[in-house]
């Protein structure tokens, strides 16, 4: 068994036009930068992308949108991207907006082997249109299905050669959920170590969920909203 790939291009060699792909990250935090760059280089098209956000014009999934590689976007929030807006309004890009917790839990359900979940999010709103509902203890819930994705592309902080992953701070977000949910899961990591070097107590995603792993390079980690406070006198 060898899960270790030389780089992003080799790790996505079999992604095809029309595939359904999950991409981890919240905004630009914790996105699989190397894998997105490889998808851009590969030029695959008609992709359905499941990702909380759609990047910005010149970074993240925005790079794939610019080249019209994305047919459909499934997200909870898609601001901050002019090209996205243009394609959505012109009808070139199909967009399905779903509540963020529903998005996360539909990933989780896939990774837990459950076909569907019931959630109260969206009851009584247009999100509920056409969906099966059911009452539990006097409260109404929507039935939402687990995602079915061909690939999950995630970014972790540390990983080992068996595919075990550790995430950092809020760069965790959707990454461990999507890692569990892909038919094939590819993880890029900042630090790749031999199996046995990571403390098993600290593993967030067990390697069983990860099919391919490689050490990413040249992380830009762009910040969307750089907010700071003035340093106090003497600091």
């Amino acid at each position: 068994m060898n899960k270790v790939y030389p780089g992003a291009d080799e790790a996505i060699i079999d992604v095809k036009d029309g595939d359904i792909i999950m991409l981890g990250g919240f905004g630009l935090c914790g996105i699989p930068e190397n894998l997105i760059a490889a998808l851009v280089r590969k030029g695959v098209s008609r992709l359905t992308c499941i990702s909380n956000n759609a990047g910005v014009d010149d970074f993240g999934i925005g790079l794939m949108l610019k080249l019209k590689q994305v047919k459909k976007m499934i997200s909870s929030y898609v601001g901050e991207n002019d090209e996205f807006e243009r394609q959505m309004l012109s009808g070139e890009l199909e967009v399905e907006l779903i509540p963020q917790g529903t998005l996360a839990t539909r990933c989780m359900a896939a990774g837990y082997g459950m076909p569907a979940i019931f959630t109260p999010a969206g009851v009584g709103t247009e999100v509920a249109e056409g969906k099966e509902t059911r009452e539990f203890k006097g409260k109404e819930y929507l039935l939402e299905h687990a995602f079915d994705a061909d690939f999950a592309l995630v970014k972790a902080w540390k990983g080992d050669t068996d595919g075990n992953l550790i995430f950092k701070a809020t760069a965790r977000n959707f990454n461990p959920l999507m890692a569990m949910a892909g038919k094939i899961t590819v993880a890029e990591v900042e630090e790749l170590v031999p199996a046995g070097e990571l403390d098993p107590n600290n593993i967030h995603t067990p390697g069983i969920y990860v099919n391919r792993i490689f050490k990413g390079t040249n992380y830009e980690k762009r910040i969307e909203q750089r907010t700071v406070r003035k340093s106090q006198a003497g600091q």
Binding site: Q100, G101, V123, A169, F174
Partner: protein, 219 residues
């Protein structure tokens, strides 16, 4: 005088109690963090996966891997914890978060809220708002009483697409504090110097006014 956004945040901060886990939305709600009383311990939840959110970092100490749900760089406080997005909304759905404060474009006198979509305008998405309003035990809306055209945002029925139904418990605006009751908006407090008459004129939904309505205490 109607309240400034900072004063609305200051008044909302008085609703926070010791030991509360609180989710603050974007806009005025974010400002609430600046007015939390120093003698209580409050954990701020950021739905991208953090409990125990701290203030913005000092310049040069920003960490791109540490942001809040508004994508701003932040810090953590002692006792904080990170988790994934499913657990984040899990704790919200399970009613573990004591209070959610969020902004709104419209609120109805039944407690319905609209804050994510304006027909004809670019729709950016609901983010976590629908999950939050569907599950939070206590929801306070922070908003201006009227829109920029001077029209009431407190309505008999929301005209915009809904984010959630019958979920808002309290509204704190630049003019008043109001509770949602089965009889509509009940006027609890008014901003200093604002008359009950003015609040009546600017509230389109059903408004209940009991005898004496005290002014807000912002000290």
């Amino acid at each position: 005088m109607s309240l400034t956004k900072e004063q609305i945040a200051q008044r909302i901060a008085r609703e926070l109690k010791d030991g509360y886990y609180v989710n603050l939305g974007i806009g005025i709600p974010t400002l609430v963090a600046n007015y939390i009383q120093s003698d209580i311990a409050v954990f701020l939840q950021s739905e991208n996966g953090l409990l125990g959110m701290g203030p913005f970092p000092f310049e040069g100490e920003e960490d791109p891997d540490l942001i809040n749900a508004g994508k701003q760089t932040i810090t953590t406080l002692p006792g904080s914890a990170f988790f994934d997005s499913a657990m984040s909304f899990g704790m919200i759905r399970a009613g573990k978060v004591d209070l959610t404060v969020l902004g709104a474009m419209e609120v109805s006198d039944l407690g319905d809220i609209a804050n994510w979509k304006i027909p004809g305008k670019m729709v950016k998405g609901m983010g976590g708002a629908m999950d939050l309003v569907a599950s939070a035990k206590n929801i306070i809306v922070a908003m201006m009483h009227t829109n920029p055209k001077g029209q009431s945002k407190l309505l008999p029925r929301c005209t915009l697409p809904l984010t959630g139904v019958r979920c808002v418990k309290k509204i704190i605006t630049d003019l008043a504090v109001l509770d949602i009751t089965e009889n509509g908006f009940e006027l609890i407090e008014r901003a200093p110097g604002i008359s009950v008459e003015e609040i009546k004129n600017k509230t389109a939904g059903r408004l209940v006014v009991r005898n004496e309505v005290p002014e807000m205490d912002l000290t």
